[in-house]
């Protein structure tokens, strides 16, 4: 496991990082937690000429709620920070549940949420969660800062919308307008395994009515799947056995699983349906879903 030769820089500011990236053309990569990039380099599936390590840049390890309830997650907030977060536990059931089932505790100590979004692995859990929550990614480049909706951020497997000299600085989850519930369920073969199937559901309700819904799927397509039809089937209606079943069926149809050594396509579709039902049934029961199944 010996990577190709590469240069290594550890800038102290975002501006410096952007300048280093801009100077290297396509040949540079940002290094965040390294939990995806380093294995790829050791296997020589990735061979960047320059690594720009952002870990020494101060002030990026935050996650915080603005006064209006918008949640911001900095580029160096680790999975483990989010797993231990009181904010998430109290008000972000989907994120709280996901944070505990990503990889294993060792990987969670290093890996970052923003890095996971950038990596755009179809089996990455955070992309589904942030998609379901209607989140965005804030990027900084030579031309300044821009905000990219999550639904536009992932272009395909391992492809994101960042330019070569752009650094993702934070992920943003918009403030809820109603009561928030939902959850994240993941089928894995063992702890530390990527999802055979993962389902993120985030809904907001006012009274009995669902006012906003997001459903996104992990591991059942070439990229994170935004199950938009399933989500919109819930909006404007109360959660009932019927609406839940309908959304679950639609989500299963929107999945694009393939048969592989983790399971048959048919089974994965079935699991999408099952997980959507299980998460929504808990929301229906008034459970904000603090515990994963």
């Amino acid at each position: 496991m010996y990577p190709s030769r590469f240069r290594y820089e550890a800038p102290r500011s975002l501006d410096e990082a952007v300048a280093l990236l801009a100077g290297a053309g396509d040949d540079a990569k940002v290094l965040a937690g390294g939990q995806s990039l380093i294995p790829l380099m050791k296997l020589r599936f990735a061979a960047p000429g320059l690594l720009v390590d952002i870990n020494n840049i101060p002030g990026l390890d935050y996650h915080r709620e603005d006064a209006d309830g918008t949640l911001r997650i900095g580029a160096l907030a680790r999975h483990a920070d989010l797993e231990r977060s009181d904010i998430l536990r109290a008000r972000q059931p989907t994120m709280a549940q996901a944070s505990a089932v990503i990889a294993d505790p060792i990987v969670r100590n290093r890996g970052t949420l923003v890095g996971s979004l950038c990596h755009a692995d179809p089996q990455g859990d955070w992309a589904s969660v942030v998609t379901a929550l209607g989140g965005q990614v804030v990027a900084r480049g030579p031309g300044g800062q821009r905000t990219i909706p999550m639904t536009d951020f992932v272009l395909g497997p391992f492809q994101n919308a960042l330019g070569p000299a752009e650094v993702a600085v934070e992920a943003v989850i918009p403030a809820p307008r109603g009561a928030r519930s939902g959850g994240y369920l993941k089928l894995e073969r063992r702890v530390g395994d990527f999802a055979t199937v993962g389902v993120a559901v985030a809904i907001e309700t006012t009274g009995e009515m669902v006012t906003r819904a997001g459903i996104a799927l992990t591991g059942v397509g070439g990229a994170t799947i935004n199950a938009a039809q399933a989500a919109s089937a819930l909006v404007g209606k109360p959660l009932t056995g019927q609406t839940i079943a309908r959304a679950a069926d639609l989500a299963a149809q929107e999945a694009r699983p393939r048969t592989d050594h983790r399971g048959s396509a048919e089974y994965k579709r079935h699991m999408v349906r099952t997980f959507v039902v299980r998460i929504l049934a808990r929301s229906q029961g008034g459970d904000t879903g603090e515990r994963a199944a």
Binding site: D104, R190, F194, D260, H261, K268
Partner: protein, 796 residues
């Protein structure tokens, strides 16, 4: 009046003494092969084939040579010019060191680069251009024997097809008669998937050829250093006394580190050519895709049964897939290992077994992964067939087993395949297990749960297995008999050094061998240092695998201690000024029979051996024992698992697991329990998640730890261990039996039987391992068996 020694206090038999080796392992002070750095050392990397079956049109190494720091590029052609392109295997076949004509499996060694550092070596491997002409691929026995199958081993004369061997054992006619008389015939077709021993430390070697002394020293990850020395002498045509193999600390072996691998051979050749030390350390993918696999067998089993439950006969056919080279590490006489130990714990009047081994475009190996040569398959098939037969008869799983067990008064018992069982108390063990799991009311709880839509299951696995290969009449590897050895040197202060021909890789020999010495001589275990693995100092032995260390090398330790005691007795008589016949022994001390107060300690005898020996006696207190075991030892085990299956997802959880192991006398109970827990964890892995499979192109699925799953503490269930039943081996000097593998051998069937028990009311008879959730779900949803290897990635 002197106090008799307390055996447990001095760390003798039965003491749960802390492992002495852990001190250095836990502190990060172990000395593994990769920790060794020699002056002027170079680094070797291997270029492996990306495809499973292809003719090599050309290999262009010119760009690799151009990279600064590259010292040598080895190809098959260069090896062929030295007659080293092929090497003999442990099963009388040949194996390519570096490919010449064809590559025959994905991951096969094609070229090696030796360079100043491993990064350069890797760069240079990437610069080698190989032109492959792809050939049709075979990935299972059915394809191997298809009429138009390509011949994989076209390098061999007299090899017109892909069949390596056919083999049979037992009584065909008698078995046929049993089936004619049967009331019920129970049939099952099973697959034991390919798995990999997967030690955390991969294989590696540092070869150091010194031109000035003509001596070759090789530090390497081997479980059997003396066998390797002989093999290197033959392959490299070097005189055996000029070869020193050193096996330093080993990070797990599990059978993976028994064979000779191309990497070892290439590092040795490179060191001879370059006259510098050459280090090769395999990476994880290299280990998983190219080194000794295990299992990979299909079985057709039939049982002839009398209506009341008596087994009349067993008929078995096994198809085993050995990969591209037949390099199973197993006793030469037995082509399919000890598969015929199957059904040993049951009183089966007639049995017949046939086996056929075939080549495929998969990695070679067939190593005894935590088992005595195919015993894992034997016991898995046995216990799956037993459960199916009881179900077919409508009999209780426990009652069916109890009725057919070899009874306590029948030992020594000859099995229909010719093994001789030494001892056991099977029904008693089963009763302990059933009581612990709460068997009496389980069926009622299961029924009640089913009413509420919940699926509970209970699975039993009971088995005895042959451990401690083996007696020299039947067991040899390439003609070398499978005895073992121990050498004990007691110093004048009563401290001692013990060396054996075995090689610890986690079993704790440094701890337990000293305990046997303490038991035999009364020398505190802390006063005995144990050393293994250096062929220049250790007595000749066959190494550690197949649970043979305690039955064979451990017996040699007891025997050499007894030789020392015999000499010490003479010294004691001399010191006490009485005749030898008047001297009595108690732990650690000789005394005068008529005056028990007058005595000398073993330490006083040791001093006398160097300072005050009787006239005519050779000085010193040292000896060596070679032990040829009269028979195998046969531990017995009962594993019972309860599970709950989620009918909606197919996910199953272990709710309880009970293990009752009767392995005779336990030297160090703590280490024995550790071995059992380790084995149960591996058994759970096999049943639940672990396998290596191949797609139609021969791509290996399971070539890294994201796909080849090892269970961690998070998902491994808890185990309740029982040691109430102790049946000493009558022929072992201290009554011990092997234990290292029992749980890995007997465990898998317990898990599988439990899941199938939970869904038996749906008419499902079999799900092949691993019982991944989707396979269980499919069985539940469609009420059908799910057989064969899991499907592999299909590109839509």
């Amino acid at each position: 009046m002197s106090q008799a020694l307390d055996e447990v206090k001095i760390g003798g038999l039965g003491a749960s003494r802390k492992r002495v080796e852990d001190e250095r392992f836990i502190r990060g002070r172990g000395n593994y092969t990769d920790d060794i750095t020699l002056p002027g050392m170079l680094h070797m990397e291997i270029l492996r084939s990306p495809v499973a079956h292809a003719r090599i049109r050309s290999i262009d190494v010119s760009r690799a040579w151009e990279i600064p720091g590259v010292r040598l590029v080895l190809t098959g052609e260069m090896l062929a010019s030295r007659n080293l392109a092929w090497m003999p295997t442990l099963s009388y076949d040949t194996q390519a060191v570096l490919a010449t004509d064809k590559v025959r499996f994905q991951g096969q060694e094609v070229a090696c680069v030796i360079a100043d550092d491993p990064y350069i070596a890797k760069d240079a491997c990437e610069a080698i251009e190989v032109d492959y002409e792809q050939l049709p691929v075979i990935v299972n026995p059915a394809q191997a024997v298809a009429p138009d199958a390509p011949v994989i081993r076209d390098d061999k004369e007299n090899q017109p097809d892909n069949v390596i061997f056919t083999w049979e054992v037992g009584d065909r006619a008698g078995t046929d008669r049993a089936f004619e008389q049967a009331d019920v015939i129970s049939r099952l077709r099973l697959h034991y998937p390919r798995s990999h021993p997967s030690p955390i430390e991969c294989c590696g070697s540092i070869a150091d050829f010194n031109r000035a002394t003509s001596k070759l020293t090789v530090y390497m990850t081997t479980q059997a250093p003396h066998i390797i020395r002989a093999a290197v002498a033959m392959v490299a045509e070097l005189p055996e006394h000029m070869i020193r193999i050193v096996s330093p600390d080993i990070g797990g072996g599990f059978g993976n580190k028994v064979p000779v691998y191309p990497g070892y051979v290439c590092s040795i050749l490179a060191s001879i050519l370059l006259e510098r030390p050459v280090k090769w350390i395999e990476d994880k993918s290299g280990n998983l895709i190219s080194t000794g696999f295990a299992r990979d067998m299909y079985l057709d089993g039939e049982m002839a049964l009398r209506r009341d439950g008596k087994i009349l006969g067993v008929r078995i056919h096994a198809d085993s897939d050995h990969g591209a080279f037949f390099s199973d590490a197993q006793p030469s006489k037995f082509k399919i290992g000890l598969l015929h130990s199957t059904f040993a714990c049951y009183d089966v009047p007639a049995a017949h077994l046939t086996a056929r081994g075939t080549y495929s475009n998969k990695a070679p190996g067939g190593v005894a992964y935590r088992c005595s040569f195919r015993v894992t398959e034997a016991m898995f098939f046995q216990e799956r067939m037993i459960q199916a037969a009881a179900t077919d008869l409508g009999m209780d799983q426990a009652a069916f087993r109890r009725m057919n067990f070899v009874p306590d008064d029948a030992f020594p018992h000859r099995t229909p395949f010719g093994f001789l069982l030494d001892s056991g108390q099977y029904a008693k063990c089963l009763d302990v297990g059933l009581k612990a799991i709460g068997y009496d009311d389980f069926r009622a709880r299961q029924e009640e749960a089913r009413q509420r839509g919940r699926l509970l299951g209970l699975g039993i696995s009971t088995m005895t297995e042959p451990l401690g290969a083996g007696n020299s009449r039947e067991f040899d590897i390439l003609g070398i008999k499978m005895f073992d050895s121990a050498e004990l040197k007691v110093h004048m202060t009563g401290k001692a050094i013990l060396r054996t021909g075995a090689k610890t890789q986690g079993q704790g020999h440094e701890t337990t061998w000293a305990q046997i010495v303490a038991h035999e001589l009364g020398i505190p275990a802390d006063d005995v240092v144990v050393e293994e693995g250096d062929t220049d100092t250790a007595p000749f032995g066959m190494g550690t695998y197949a649970s043979r260390s305690t039955p064979v090398a451990g017996a040699a330790v007891a025997m050499v201690s007894r030789k020392i005691r015999a000499k010490a007795r003479k010294l004691a008589a001399h010191l006490l000024e009485v005749s030898e016949e008047d001297v009595e022994w108690e732990l650690g001390r000789f005394y005068v029979r008529s005056a028990p107060d007058r005595g000398v300690t073993i330490q006083e005898c040791a001093l006398a051996a160097y300072s005050n020996m009787p006239d005519g006696m050779e000085p010193g207190l040292e000896n060596t024992a070679y032990y040829d075991p009269p028979n195998l030892t046969w531990p017995f085990a009962v594993y019972i698992v309860t599970v709950e299956v989620d009918p909606e997802t197919g996910v199953w959880d272990v709710t309880n697991m009970v293990a009752v192991d009767d392995c005779g006398v336990r030297i160090n109970p703590m280490i024995v329990e550790g071995q059992i827990m380790g084995g149960l964890t591996e058994a759970y892995a096999m049943a639940n998640m672990q396998f290596i499979t191949f797609d139609a192109e021969g791509n290996c699925i399971g070539s890294n730890y994201m796909d080849y799953l090892l269970p961690s503490a998070w998902e491994t269930p808890g185990f309740e261990l029982h040691s109430e039943v102790v049946t000493p081996s009558p022929h072992h000097p201290i009554g011990a039996k092997g234990i290292g593998e029992c749980a890995a051998v007997g465990g898998p069937a317990a898990f599988v039987n439990a899941v199938l028990d939970a869904i038996s009311h749906l008419g499902v008879r079999n799900i092949d391992m691993p019982l991944l959730p989707d396979r269980v779900w499919e069985a539940i949803t469609y009420r059908r068996d799910v057989s064969g290897a899991p499907p592999v990635r299909s590109d839509d």
